[in-house]
Amino acid sequence: MTLYFTKDHEWVRVDGDTATVGITDYAQGQLGDVVFVENPAAGAALAQGKEAAVVESVKAASDVYAPISGTVTEANAALEGEPALVNTAPEGEGWFFRMTVGNPGELDALMSESAYRDYVAGL
């Protein structure tokens, strides 16, 4: 199981051929109170770097980008009733969706956890 990060503040946890995607603690802090998540449906095809989901805070709507290409297998149903999980457990129960790993080579372009923490520290 390996954790990767994007410059747009998504995380992706790869476990075999399945990836779980969410937004980072830094991202939820920037957004503030999350009140709604519009997730892609199971079966949706995602392309790396393209819009995958929309997260709505009290203030505004923000795009969430697919960290890798693949097909959505499951959206986190818990976010429908409790979108604030994105604030309270962004890198845990507040995950957005699961997807297949369409092209493992794409993972090479992502950051490791320590590289991401350094990146955020420099923002």
């Binding site: 709604f36 929309v54 009290v58 203030k59």
Partner: protein, 371 residues
Amino acid sequence: MGDTPETLELLPLDALHRRLGARMVPFAGYSMPIQYEGIVAEHNWTRTAAGLFDVSHMGQVILTGDSADAALEALIPGDIIGLKTGCLRYSMLLDAQGGILDDLMVTRREGDLYLVVNGAMKHSDIAILKAGLPGVDVAYRPDLALLALQGPTAVDALERLAPGVAALSFMRAGTFTLAGTSVWVSRSGYTGEDGFEISVPAADAERIAELLLAQPEVKPIGLGARDSLRLEAGLPLYGHDLTPETTPVEASLAFAISKRRKAEGGFPGADRVLKQLLDGPAKKRVGLKIDGRQPVREGAPVVHDGANVGAVTSGGHGPALNAPIAMAYVPAALAGDGQRLQLEVRGKLLDATVVPMPFFPKNYVRQGAKA
């Protein structure tokens, strides 16, 4: 955010906001606090205790001159001649077509009229006032800061520091002494809660704000919660819900056209506005409650029977209601309470219902009402 090239002005309380950990954003030409601990927490605190807002970006303008009240009536549809000393009136600057140029508060004080106008509009408002009020001195007062203390326990906190304010009723004002400084206090605000707006010398603002924040009821509240509070209260925001393309009647603000002015006219666009009052306007500002949880923002099309019939002018999550709410302009025939409409967000149609505003019951202390 933050790529505005022009230099932002700093509020008198800028250093305090930063010390309190505020996230600062550009707004109305100023660097302003959008939030401290979080919009929802600040919103709910204001609904249950007392929130301190720095609204010093707003324009405080003082009119003096023998017939300033009669002169001002040429620019706005409110009865100012009949406004009693120590009373506030909500009104609007109108253009020749009755379009809204800004909304404002007018208070008659001993010897002058005290106006509070929107921060983003203040310079154009002052130019309109100067050009439209010959023989009246129009004094812009950037040497004054403006603090709003809002919420059900605001009266407890302020009465402790400025004895006597508890006797003011809604839309009344007077001079009080707060920590040795003479301040102008109005029982008014923009949250739908009981509360006060306090005009203080900018040089004393930080000391007074810190004293207010030291009261157990009081926390600092940013612009984010100010917007969600006023949305729940059904209060329009200039530049969004009110523009030169909307008249007071279309904006569902006909209450601000005073009785005598309805009879006499004599304000900009009176012919059109009074005709709308009589015949009803073609479009109206309404409140919408949206099914489900997805917020709908400004600009979303309003759809009825597959046709685009209007647009959302403000919208978002209502924290105290825990539901999405919005304001929109729709044809008068579709403006009745209970009317079902749809709102388009990212290609998806969401069901919504026209509901009366405020969305959240107002909590004002009106004159003659039981305590």
